[in-house]
């Protein structure tokens, strides 16, 4: 039992590394990974075999591998959690950057989705880790951050960010439940394009265009 957890943690480490590599290149080889992680080629090969069996990786011939959809999303999740944790360790606990990375490696595996969500909220939905790398979103690829004003009638999205300088205004939005992570749906758009009727949880609001432009969402 214990061994299995360990193994899956190791698999997660691999997927994380692979996700990083794939951010730069589409395909990877055993030797690239072995170099990058400083692990012997045979053990990397061993792991690749296992990951392929479990459906995280697939061989694209000639010793090249690429991540499957499943592998990509798990890798992304780990990266996301890692970078969120770094933010927590550095911003809140005032930990050294270097230490934060190692500590985050250790903590990232057992995290529940609830904790991830509360981290996002506590940290104010940060866009990057302390080192400046982007924190990947939890949505599928292909749903970029767009202003709410770009969403068509009947569409829904998750609020990712609110771009406004005025903090009191942001807090007013919080009191209405308009907060990153919340799901928002465009119910109607008033004639001549402009005011939007949105629903959010059990509340419905009419939002002027100016506000809708400040609320960034990822379409669902």
């Amino acid at each position: 039992m214990k061994g299995e957890i360990k193994a899956s943690e190791r698999a997660e480490e691999y997927l994380e590394a692979l996700y990083h590599l794939i951010e730069e290149e589409k395909e990877i080889t055993v030797s690239q990974v072995s170099q990058k992680l400083g692990i012997s080629a045979p053990s990397v090969f061993e792991m690749f075999k296992r990951l392929t069996e479990e459906g995280y990786l697939e061989s694209s011939g000639r010793g090249n591998y690429c991540l499957t959809e499943k592998g990509r999303s798990l890798g992304k999740q780990i990266v996301r959690r890692h970078r969120l944790l770094e933010r927590l360790l550095v911003d809140v606990l005032k930990m050294d950057w270097g230490l934060a990375h190692e500590e985050a490696c250790r903590l990232e595996h057992g995290m529940s989705p609830e904790m991830e969500e509360s981290l996002v909220r506590t940290l104010g939905n940060p866009a990057t880790c302390p080192h400046g790398n982007p924190i990947p979103g939890e949505q599928k690829e292909g749903s970029p951050e767009v202003p709410l004003s770009a969403l068509r009638k009947g569409r829904r999205g998750i609020i990712s960010r609110i771009v406004d300088e005025e903090r009191e205004f942001l807090r007013y939005l919080v009191s209405l439940g308009i907060i990153p992570g919340a799901e928002i749906a465009v119910e109607e758009i008033a004639p001549f394009g402009g005011t939007r009727l949105v629903s959010l949880g059990k509340s419905r609001y009419s939002l002027a265009d100016e506000i809708a432009q400040k609320i960034l969402v990822r379409e669902k």
Partner: protein
């Protein structure tokens, strides 16, 4: 709700509770999100209402009422709806001002079961403020119907505060609420569970608490307000010389823990907490179809419905109001005027004084009545009804594109349409607008809209003598002026349009007796305020007229009237009296025309040229508000703003009247 006694008159209160006694009573404030049924509960609790008086807030009046309890009497206040500590409108800040300045002994937090998470957010803020709390859950029946019952006992256990479910329309839970309020008042302190803040926050708060104690402030509340950046607490600390210490403490904590935006972090914390609690006590959300709402908000059907409604409001004011006004006026003249006249002669003897008396108590009261009951009461009734259904917010959504040209929210449409009936209630109705900027712009535009009295002048003076085209062209000019002034004011008035978010609450069928009560209170308020002004104003003008002093008032205006605007000086008299009642200027003009002709005449052209008449009607239409409208303006916007509006209108209309006169003469209308 069993039979409420009719709203008592003001004097009654003084007999029962003198000011000192009243001040000594404990205060209970109803606090909650907008539209959670606060007023309904207020009404139920004050059902056997003892008395009412208005507590003047900063910009809105909050009404405090004495409730008689078995063991103790208390003052109950129904505060405007709020979402959080951040106030977006004057009535929202008035609610917080009440909480912080009048320091209620008990805050009854009202939670709407059909939107629990958001309602709990406000409760978290109230708890953070360390206020003595009692919680009431409303619309539990509705939540149950929607398959989402709330576990109130569990909520009470979590919060460590008594929670009382109330279904106000059926009166369920009200007796229990009465008892719990009394219990809570005798307990003195109702302590909720301390919010589970992170350790550093707790430490920071306890350090700040010590400082607040030193400054003689309520410690927990002030510490929290200080963290939220509240100015008043900083000011008090500054006066006591403790501000730098408090700031240093805060600074050191923020630095040590790398927190950049503490108020923001606290808000998000309260938000998460409220959602966690909501999940714990209520089953998850199910989709609820809202067909009527969909119909009313969808662009096409919604616009048609809105248009139909606006036409209805307009015709109610224009036709029904006009008819009622006529009826009241003729009844008054037939029934009240003759005995009043005899009375005046009895007291003052025949002569000028009797006539002055009649100006005030015959004409003056008549003016208050013929504007008050038919227009203001009807409009207040419609407004209260629409407010209680929640439809105003729907209108706000639909009409916003148009009104935003003027920097106004969509709901201002209703004021603009209503003003065509009578400006006075439309100005009073600007209270639904969020800031002075919007209220100022809206009031100015409202005053430009020809009310039914001014329409009477246009139709009575311009149409018969100058033709329908001329009469309609005046409406065209007014429309252009509104467009121009609205756009311009939006550009030059400092600040930005503030209402950019409005809640669209679920539509609800209003309680009719509540609507009536609200209408009555607002209406009575108007009467108390406007009637004395109208009577005194009438006496003053009547005195000027009867003593002949009026000519020496009008004479200095000769250069403006004759020299610039091209009007005969006698017309200045009619203009002066238009200030009392707009349609009176027409009557007076006919009298003057008759005097000029030396014989009764109904043809104004005997007295003025077409160009003069057109300019006269134009001037009467856009130059200044009547006395009722002006007194409402002073009441709603304060004297300074009212005077600025008056100045803008007067100078603009004098300037353009002269130009218009010259243009007309040049076009050959002389």
């Amino acid at each position: 709700m069993k039979g409420c006694s009719p709203p008592p008159k003001r004097g009654q209160f003084r007999r029962r509770f003198r000011w000192g006694q009243r001040e000594a009573l404990p205060r209970v404030a109803l606090v909650g999100n907008p539209n959670v049924g606060k007023s309904l509960i207020f009404n139920c609790l004050t059902g056997s209402c003892v008395d009412t008086a208005n507590y003047p807030g900063v910009t809105v009046d909050l009404s405090e009422r004495v409730v008689r309890g078995e063991s103790q009497n208390y003052l109950l206040v129904d505060l405007p709806g709020i979402y959080g500590l951040e106030a977006a409108t004057p009535d929202q800040s008035a609610a917080w001002d009440y909480v912080f300045q009048r320091k209620p002994d008990l805050v009854v937090a009202i939670l709407d079961s059909t939107n629990l998470a958001r309602n709990l957010y406000l409760l978290m803020v109230l708890m953070a403020l360390d206020l003595p709390l009692l919680v009431v859950g409303t619309f539990g029946d509705k939540a149950e119907q929607e398959g989402e019952p709330v576990n109130w006992e569990k909520l009470s256990q979590i919060l460590e505060i008594p929670v009382i479910p109330v279904v106000a329309p059926k009166g369920r839970g009200i007796p229990l609420l009465r008892r719990e309020i009394l219990k809570a008042l005798s307990r003195k302190k109702t302590q909720a569970f301390p919010l589970p803040y992170p350790a550093f926050m707790r430490e920071l708060v306890s350090r700040l608490e010590d400082l607040m104690k030193k400054a003689g402030l309520p410690s927990r509340r002030s510490a929290f307000l200080f963290l939220m950046g509240e100015e008043s607490v900083r000011q008090t600390l500054g006066e006591r010389g403790l501000l730098t210490e408090a700031e240093k403490t805060l600074e050191s904590f923020l630095k040590a823990y790398g927190v950049q935006d503490l108020p923001g972090a606290l808000s998000s914390f309260h938000n998460s907490l409220s959602r966690v609690i909501a999940q714990a006590v209520q089953k998850p959300h199910k989709h609820i179809p809202r067909r009527l709402e969909k119909f009313l908000t969808s662009p096409l059907s919604g616009a048609i419905a809105a248009l139909a409604l606006l036409v209805l409001v307009f015709s109610a004011l224009f036709l029904v109001g006009g008819w009622l006004s006529e009826l009241l006026s003729s009844t008054w003249q037939a029934v009240v005027s003759p005995p009043l006249e005899r009375l005046a002669i009895l007291i003052f003897g025949p002569g000028a004084w009797a006539k002055v008396f009649l100006w005030g108590f015959d004409q003056g009261i008549l003016a208050a009545l013929t504007v008050g009951i038919p227009y203001i009461f009807i409009f207040y009734l419609i407004l209260a009804f629409l407010e209680d259904t929640g439809y105003l917010s729907v209108l706000s959504f639909l009409g916003e594109r148009l009104t935003r040209l003027f920097g106004l929210p969509g709901r201002a449409l209703i004021n603009l349409v209503a003003s065509a009936g009578c400006n006075v209630p439309a100005i009073a109705g600007t209270r639904i607008l969020p800031s002075m900027r919007e209220r100022f712009i809206a009031s100015l535009l409202i005053l430009l809209v020809p009310c039914s009295a001014r329409s009477a002048v246009i139709f009575g003076a311009a149409a018969p003598f100058l033709g329908w085209g001329a009469a309609l062209s005046l409406y065209g000019i007014v429309a252009l002026l509104i467009l121009g002034f609205g756009t311009l004011m939006n550009k030059i008035y400092p600040g930005k349009p503030s209402i950019l978010i409005a809640e669209i609450p679920p539509l609800r069928w209003p309680q009719f007796n509540l609507v009536l009560r609200k209408t009555w209170f607002r209406f009575a308020d108007f009467l108390y305020f406007a009637a004395p002004i109208l009577i005194l104003g009438s006496i003053f003008l009547g005195g000027l007229y009867e003593t002949g002093a009026v000519w020496s008032v009008v004479a200095p205006l000769r250069p403006i009237l004759e020299g610039w605007m091209g009007l005969p000086v006698a017309a200045g008299l009619a203009i002066l009296f238009a200030f009392l009642r707009k349609e009176m200027s027409l009557q007076l003009l006919l009298v003057l025309a008759a005097a000029q002709a030396g014989a009764p005449t109904t043809n104004l052209l005997n007295f003025m040229t077409p160009a003069q008449l057109y300019v006269f009607v134009y001037f009467i239409t856009v130059s200044f508000p009547c006395l009722s409208a002006f007194s409402m303006l002073v009441r709603e916007l304060k004297a300074k703003n009212a005077l600025i509006i008056l100045l803008i209108m007067l100078s603009f209309s004098i300037l353009t009247s002269g130009l218009l006169y010259r243009l007309l003469v040049a076009l050959g209308f002389h």
